[in-house]
Subunit: 166 residues, 2 copies
DNA sequence: TTATATTTTCAATATTTTTTGAAAACAAAA
DNA sequence: TTTTGTTTTCAAAAAATATTGAAAATATAA
């Protein structure tokens, strides 16, 4: 396969997967483009590479920096900003977990804690409390597991996976 | 907290979390409604409970059945169909993993296998191949881990979590 | 200081996704 | 068979989300 076709497919597929997961497709494509770029790129190169507007490129580059997946590089003597992606995949996964856990799992846990105060004193509230109890248990376990993963370094990370698949 | 307020918050929050994860908000709300219902509900009760149209209720009930999260119950002598949610949370998680793995992870793995055929013979293709290699390794491990989880029963499931948090 | 290069913002526009609701299809009862 | 209750479909409308592009802001150089 030719490198150009490979890049094309990779960027497209990375974007597709992200949008399935509720992440802006273009943000993921910018990420993919930077991941496979041997050198940092300028905003113009990103615009050109994905055929997107300056505003779009800027917004998504900023979002990727918020997620800790992309960094800025300033070259001395140059006025333009360069962008490069974090290439250590363990770090990429870790950053994604940190970000999504904070924005998605934690608010859910908070609501579960609140609604756990409902009194189980009728069929309706009994069923409700049982379901909430089970989901809370599971979510708390997931939360702990994610905390462990976040703290783990690459080696640990691999080990955990290995342990899981036995 | 009153049961009605609790239900309200739970349904809203379940829907919010789902839509963060790329799942239709209403589908998740229907799921939440059925999860906390002591008895199976009819399509009309779902429409009423969430203030949605018949078409919407029907489509999302069907989608939930596709995911294996909701089942139909026919009461003898009655013409209406009743719906109830799978309440074993391990099973719920397992079904979600099965479904999303098939629709999202597997297509990505396929593309990664394809693009792994690019020859690393220039800086551009070398960087590309390195990134693809790392992502493939990671995705394959994730895939194996998910297979293990899918096969695991509740007990195993708990054990794996416990092992992970040490 | 002013001129110039670059980035950021955001209202307007375009696109995608979701929802509606009425008609069609279906299935049980009369 | 026809009638009646129920579910399904799907084109049109609405809502949510993403994108553009030009103006404003910022920063460096002259």
């Amino acid at each position: 396969m030719e490198i150009q076709e490979g890049k094309q497919k990779f960027i497209e597929s990375w974007g597709k997967m992200a949008s399935d997961w509720g992440i802006n497709r273009t943000m993921a494509q910018v990420h993919a483009l930077l991941l496979i770029a041997p050198e940092p790129l300028t905003a113009d190169e990103v615009m050109e590479g994905l055929s997107i507007s300056r505003g779009n490129a800027n917004m998504n580059l900023r979002a990727l920096m918020d997620w800790g997946l992309v960094h800025k590089q300033l070259k001395s003597g140059e006025r333009k900003e360069y962008f490069y992606a974090e290439k250590d995949m363990w770090t990429v996964v870790r950053q994604i977990i940190v970000h999504r856990k904070k924005k998605e799992l934690e608010p859910m846990l908070k609501v579960l804690d609140e609604v756990a105060n409902v009194e189980p004193n009728c069929p309706e509230s009994e069923t409700f409390c049982n379901v909430v109890k089970d989901i809370r248990m599971l979510s708390n376990k997931a939360n702990q597991t994610l905390d462990t993963l976040i703290k783990a370094d690459s080696g640990w990370f691999s080990n955990i996976f290995l342990r899981m698949v036995r």
